[in-house]
């Protein structure tokens, strides 16, 4: 039995359209946010949950964290049905929404933590030990007396993380945790999440649009689109499956007469030639040798394995 079990989860939303002229009642539209999603997650896993906007990621997280009640389907998190036994369930989870604060805006963050201690009924000794540990790991000591509203975005995210982990949850949901953060903050945040996961075996589920997050953190990735699960597995497998077209740009000293094999598309630009090819049909090494034989190369760029690009390609291929 896995830690999280989700079976055929469905949720519809009824959206009221704007009232059209001459009609008395507004028309209603049903949006199928989730059309029967199933998956399971083991304890201690670090799972990335990706998909375009409106795919149903947040809806899933909200159901798993007990905020929403699904229309049908089964969910079991550590033996508890989230929306039926909400209070029991949320004792063991932590939630961070990237754009929403869980802490109090106008008071020093230490006051917020003290109040969370009371809300979660954390014993004083355990609280102090944990706060000290998190403050060290997240570098929050110097900020403790600062009101939340005066913190920068990166600092605020660290403060939120600390607040959501004080009660030592077994499961942590992160909804776009790195949104808007600079490179240094992102790296620090990822290091911290890895540490927390390793040290305490905390199961972490992370929704994001940032493929670097997934690459750096997640052993497993799930792709959601149109309310359905489209992929569930390791990131390299995902990339392999959708890594169908690659680009090379090349610049010659003197433009040669290139004879390219079939399937390679060539575009002339001011900066030279842009080629796209399918590595499955034409190995990269072979293409390179053809290019080299053709003339004196001044510059050659193989497009790096850009995951964002791949995801965009995947969304397109799956017709999202």
């Amino acid at each position: 039995m896995s830690y999280i079990e989700v079976n055929n989860l469905k949720k519809d939303f009824i959206v009221k359209k704007k009232r059209e002229k001459g009609k008395l009642l507004r028309e209603k539209d049903t949006v199928n946010a989730l059309k029967g999603v199933s998956f399971s997650v083991d304890e201690g896993e670090l799972v990335g949950y990706i998909g375009p906007n409106g795919a149903g990621k947040s809806t899933t997280v909200k159901i798993l964290s007990g905020i929403l009640t699904p229309d049908s389907g089964e969910v079991n998190v550590g033996g508890v049905v989230p929306w039926k036994d909400r209070k029991q369930h949320v004792k063991n989870i932590g939630v961070v929404f990237g754009q929403r604060s869980q802490l109090w805006w106008d008071v020093p963050i230490i006051d917020s933590y003290n109040l969370l201690k009371d809300i979660y009924r954390i014993p004083q000794a355990s609280y102090e030990e944990r706060l000290h540990e998190l403050a060290g790991a997240l570098d929050l000591e110097p900020l403790m007396r600062t009101p939340l509203r005066l913190l920068s975005l990166g600092q605020r995210m660290r403060a939120e993380l600390c607040g959501s982990l004080l009660h030592r949850p077994k499961l942590l949901f992160l909804d776009e945790p790195t949104i808007g953060l600079d490179a240094v903050s992102k790296l620090a945040l990822r290091d911290f999440l890895k540490w927390e996961n390793k040290e305490y075996g905390t199961t972490i589920m992370l929704t994001t649009h940032d493929m670097e997050d997934i690459a750096a953190l997640c052993s497993r990735v799930m792709v959601l689109g149109h309310g359905q699960k489209l992929f569930d597995g390791k990131l390299p497998d995902l990339l392999e499956r959708f890594d169908t077209v690659r680009n090379v740009s090349v610049k010659y000293a003197v433009e040669p007469d290139l004879k390219l094999p079939e399937g390679v598309i060539c575009n002339k630009t001011e900066d030279g030639l842009e080629l796209s090819y399918e590595p499955s049909k034409l190995p990269t090494s072979k293409l390179l040798s053809i290019l080299q034989d053709a003339g004196n190369i001044r510059e050659l760029t193989l497009q790096p394995e850009n995951t964002d690009h791949l995801i965009a390609a995947m969304y397109k291929e799956l017709d999202l």
Binding site: F97, R100, D118, E176
Partner: protein, 266 residues
């Protein structure tokens, strides 16, 4: 007990955040004084012009006014989460964060709002109560004092319950529903005068739907020695309990509504 401690700790923290902007706080508190003082002045003018209203003397009217002011603004001070801030909690997604914590949602909503600026309104109400009591020549007994406290407490619960109707609508539609204000703010304005000055439909509204007549007018008129409808003394003790009944029903409905909560996008 733990919940009560949490409540006062939260309210203490909110007070400190209000005081982060002291000049704004003082100005607004004074503005409240002017506003509620104006309301009181209106009653004084009526008494000055007419002397009495349907058999209620000036002192009686001040007493009714004072009871309503104290009840209503105490509710706003301690229940701001329900009476004012709830729609924005739904809109901004703060309700989501309450739902992921192991505490009652209603508890957390109550913990999340206070409106200390209303303290001046309560002060006006207390002044009106004292004036009313002195002018009417009430002889206080322990029972009368108890009924007064019960009546104010139950009126507070009733007002909370009425504002919860708005909160329940809000859970479904995200927007706030102004129509409910007719019985909350409207109820306050109307029921600061004795109920029997109104025609039957209004009397029915404020006895059955929003029973201010039961939580406030029945006990207050008994304290004043002019029992409403000639009801016996125990009516003044029993009828205010309708406040807790309304609050109880609304609490149940509130939790039913939360089952259908849809949250907002992120």
């Amino acid at each position: 007990m733990n919940t009560l401690r949490l409540y006062f700790k939260s309210i203490g923290m909110l007070l400190r955040s209000h005081l982060q902007y002291p000049s704004s706080f003082i100005m607004q508190t004074l503005a409240q004084l002017v506003m509620e003082g104006g309301e009181m002045l209106a009653v004084i003018l009526i008494v000055d012009r007419f002397g009495s209203l349907k058999g209620w003397s000036g002192g009686n009217l001040y007493f009714f006014f004072g009871m309503m002011s104290v009840s209503f603004y105490m509710t706003e001070i301690f229940g701001r989460g329900i009476t004012g801030d709830f729609p924005s909690m739904v809109r901004t997604g703060r309700l989501d964060s309450f739902l992921v914590r192991p505490r009652g949602v209603l508890t957390q909503v109550m913990c999340a709002g206070t409106d200390p600026r209303r303290i001046t309104c309560v002060a006006v109400g207390v002044v009106a109560l004292i004036m009313g009591s002195n002018i009417s020549g009430i002889t206080w007994t322990p029972l009368k004092a108890l009924v007064l406290i019960e009546s104010i407490a139950m009126s507070c619960l009733l007002i909370l319950g009425l504002f919860m109707i708005e909160a329940i609508f809000c859970i479904f539609s995200v927007k706030s529903v102004e129509i409910v204000n007719a019985i909350t703010y409207g109820g306050r304005s109307a029921c600061q005068y004795p109920i029997n000055v109104y025609p039957l439909p209004l009397r029915a509204l404020f006895t059955i739907v929003a029973p201010f007549a039961l939580t406030l007018h029945v006990p207050a008129s008994w304290i004043l020695g002019k029992p409403l409808y000639g009801w016996p003394w125990w009516a003044a003790v029993v009828t205010p309990l309708s406040g807790i009944v309304v609050f109880g029903i609304m609490t149940v409905l509130f939790h039913v509504a939360l089952r259908h909560y849809r949250s907002t996008g992120s």
